[in-house]
């Protein structure tokens, strides 16, 4: 894997460093510096009126010994798993249809763009549009009551874990579709003929040919979905009708009365957990290798 520049001449040894420099500067200023600040504040002391620079593990001790922390993480991991499962099923199916069933590539691209149409409006609007559908006097309940299927409106439809997950799936499925669509379109069609010739059924082809070749797309989509759900606070707040707290909403409540160090410690812990989750996903699928091999 030795690399020479396309022209064949020997590149100066500083060149790769110069090439990454702009990105490095951007990352340092906009990612590393703020993050370092959050980490620093997480060790500070505070009282009702001031934040006092210090080096203390008190905030971490507070967060880690609170029963609440574990409740919140379990809730959000549960939401992540459910959302991941449903977005994967839907995202994979949609991508499969677009890539393999729509013959005309122009129509496929067109339909793909149609998938993004809901994203032309804001998250908030898309989420709130569920309220008139799922409410006690919403469309579903009215319809069911009118047909006599139920006598009392179904309360679980709105302001429940159900409505939270429905909303997540609606909001985040696109993040599954895009990377899976991407890796599926790179699959060599002759592989299907080979599979058919070897006597493989459609399901077997799907399982043994398509899925393995989409691994990188699935992994990337999973990373998007899991990190989005773990870091969410607004969907939980609105769709659960405030009957659930999330990790970030607890931080928000801290910040609202200036308990910054406590919130910062919580943020650092959340970051560590999410990094672990992402590295677990990457452990299952080596995205870099997959992408390189598809070149």
């Amino acid at each position: 894997m030795t690399r020479t520049s396309p022209s064949g001449e020997r590149a100066s040894p500083a060149r790769p460093y110069l090439l990454v420099a702009p990105l490095l500067v951007v990352l340092l200023v906009f990612v590393v510096a703020p993050l370092a600040f959050v980490v620093a504040v997480s060790f500070f002391h505070y009282d009702n009126f001031a934040i006092i620079p210090a080096f203390s593990f008190e905030n971490y001790a507070d967060v880690l010994t609170a029963h609440l922390t574990y409740d919140l993480y379990l809730t959000m991991i549960w939401f992540s798993l459910l959302t991941w499962f449903f977005t994967l099923i839907i995202g994979f199916t949609v991508a499969y249809f677009l890539v393999f069933h729509v013959r005309n590539p122009l129509i496929a691209i067109g339909l793909f763009l149609v998938c993004t149409v809901p994203f032309w409006t804001s998250n908030v609007i898309r989420m709130i549009s569920w309220l008139p559908l799922l409410g006690k006097q919403g469309l579903i309940n009215s319809a069911l009551l009118a047909t006599g299927a139920i006598r009392q409106p179904l309360q679980f439809l709105l302001f429940s874990d159900f409505s939270v997950v429905v909303s997540y799936v609606h909001l985040f499925t696109i993040f599954m579709i895009v990377p899976i669509f991407n890796s599926m379109s790179r699959i060599d069609r002759t592989l299907f003929e080979a599979a058919a010739d070897a006597g493989s059924s459609r399901w077997q082809t799907l399982l043994h040919v398509v899925v393995p070749l989409c691994k990188s797309g699935i992994a990337l989509g999973s990373i998007f979905v899991v990190t989005l759900v773990m870091g969410d606070f607004y969907v939980v707040k609105v769709m659960s009708g405030g009957s659930r707290a999330s990790i970030v909403s607890a931080m928000y409540d801290d910040i609202s009365t200036l308990l910054f160090p406590h919130a910062a410690a919580n943020a650092v812990i959340l970051m560590i957990i999410v990094v672990i989750m992402v590295s677990l996903i990457l452990r299952v699928v080596d995205v870099r290798k997959e992408l390189a091999s598809q070149r």
Binding site: P132, K237, S243, S249, S256, T257
Partner: protein, 445 residues
């Protein structure tokens, strides 16, 4: 030009020690300096107008207190520019502390005032430069009304009102010459309910947690004030008597949260809400029939043609019930000086001249100086909003939409009736962090 600015600043600064009206002196000084600089003397006010027209005051705070329409009117009346910037309570106080130079007039509640004073980001407001000071209701300036002491549970405006010197960082008890913040808008909060469904007049907080409304009630999810609504309900039900609902002990917090968790497990609450719009939606869509609510939200539900009453929760002979009061005021940031400070005082005094009082009254809020506000309202409006009289004619909101028919009476009655019945004031408790953690346990239960 630079020379002129410098001169007028020096003269303006010198008069701080004199008893002469600073504004008049400044005008004279500006005129004198203008003449000295060789410009034509057209008249003092014109020069003042020229001097101030480049000034911009940035008034920063929550949307229900820092209102664009009010800022626009002030700009028109005062001849300099007032810019209103809206942030939520926490973002606002964070900005005051971390970027004090970007704010001129901070919008402050009691607890924010306490934090801001302790951090030394404010300068005192000189009492004698507030023209209408003597007409401010004694609820704010003395902590009493018609001889009756106003509740001190939570942070009452009076409790955070005075400092001893201009640059003090310690709030003191008693009336002094320097104020921390100037109250400008306030109200008394209670519960909103659907009279057609609840079926009886609600006058007690315990109805909020009554099993009759299981799955149809909601509570406010801003921990600091939501817990006080809960406390009022629990006290009303007879669970316990708090020493200070606005500053609970850990034990009281535990009792309150445990009761809330039990209620949640029984399915009492359909939802909790954090924004004004959510509370309107919950009530208007029929999801809930009784909930903690803010006055304009009740008005908004009514405007949708849905019956809604703002419960009058006067203090009862048994000592239970009462409203949760709040008050927002204006401070002066420490960096203000010279002409900008003069303009800031003009702006503060403008609030008490009445136009703003008339404007906020149509939201259902009040001005600390009703005397001047009255001049900017019709007799019908003043009678309806302040005196609790039946409306003689249609009552309209600030933007002209009709919200009450002739004959309607304001929920909770007159201003006096509501404000002599405050049980506690919006606050941040000493045990704040513990309370927030436990509140989140209620949320995730």
């Amino acid at each position: 030009m630079a020379q002129r600015r410098k001169n007028s600043a020096r003269i303006g600064g010198a008069d701080a020690n004199t008893a002469i009206s600073r504004r008049n002196l400044l005008r004279a000084a500006a005129a004198a300096v203008g003449a000295a600089a060789g410009s034509q003397v057209i008249g003092a006010p014109t020069i003042w107008a020229q001097e101030i027209k480049d000034i911009e005051l940035r008034h920063v705070g929550v949307s229900y207190s820092v209102v664009k329409a009010i800022g626009d009117q002030a700009s028109k009346d005062l001849g300099f520019k007032v810019t209103m910037q809206n942030l939520d309570t926490s973002a606002a106080i964070t900005r005051f502390i971390t970027q004090p130079q970007t704010v001129d007039i901070p919008d402050l509640e009691g607890w924010q005032t306490k934090v801001a004073v302790a951090r030394g980001i404010l300068q005192g407001i000189e009492v004698k430069r507030i023209k209408e000071f003597d007409n401010i209701l004694p609820i704010f300036t003395k902590g009493e009304y018609e001889g009756k002491k106003v509740s001190r549970q939570g942070i009452s405006p009076y409790e955070a009102m005075y400092i001893e010197k201009k640059d003090s960082t310690k709030i003191v008890e008693g009336v002094h010459d320097w104020m921390t913040f100037l109250p400008q808008v306030y109200n008394a909060d209670s519960i909103g309910y659907r009279p057609d469904i609840v079926g009886h007049p609600v006058t007690r907080w315990k109805d909020l947690i009554d099993p009759n409304y299981k799955g149809r009630s909601a509570i406010l999810d801003v921990p600091n004030i939501g817990i006080m609504d809960a406390a009022l309900a629990l006290e009303s039900r007879g669970d316990l008597v708090y020493k200070n609902k606005g500053n609970m002990t850990r034990q009281e917090i535990d009792t309150t949260i445990n009761a809330l968790i039990a209620l949640k497990k029984q399915g009492q609450f359909r939802a909790t809400w954090t924004t004004f719009e959510q509370s309107v939606e919950l009530m208007a869509s029929g999801e809930v029939v009784i909930q903690s609510m803010w006055s304009p939200a009740v008005t908004a539900v009514l405007a949708k043609g849905i019956p809604c009453i703002y419960a009058p929760v006067n203090e009862q002979p048994d000592g239970k019930e009462g409203y949760r009061g709040w008050c927002n005021g204006m401070g002066l940031m420490r960096h203000l000086s010279g002409k900008k400070l003069e303009a800031a005082y003009e702006y503060l005094n403008w609030y008490y001249a009445g136009w703003q009082g008339g404007f906020v009254a149509r939201h259902g809020y009040y001005s600390p100086v009703p005397k001047t506000a009255e001049k900017f309202m019709t007799a019908n409006e003043y009678g309806y909003w302040y005196l609790g009289k039946p409306a003689a004619d249609v009552i309209k909101d600030p933007y002209g939409a009709a919200i009450a028919k002739a004959g309607a009476v304001r929920d909770g009655g007159s201003f006096i009736e509501r404000f002599t019945n405050i049980a506690c004031w919006n606050t941040v408790m000493d045990e704040n962090q513990y309370m927030i953690q436990r509140w989140n346990e209620f949320k995730s239960a």
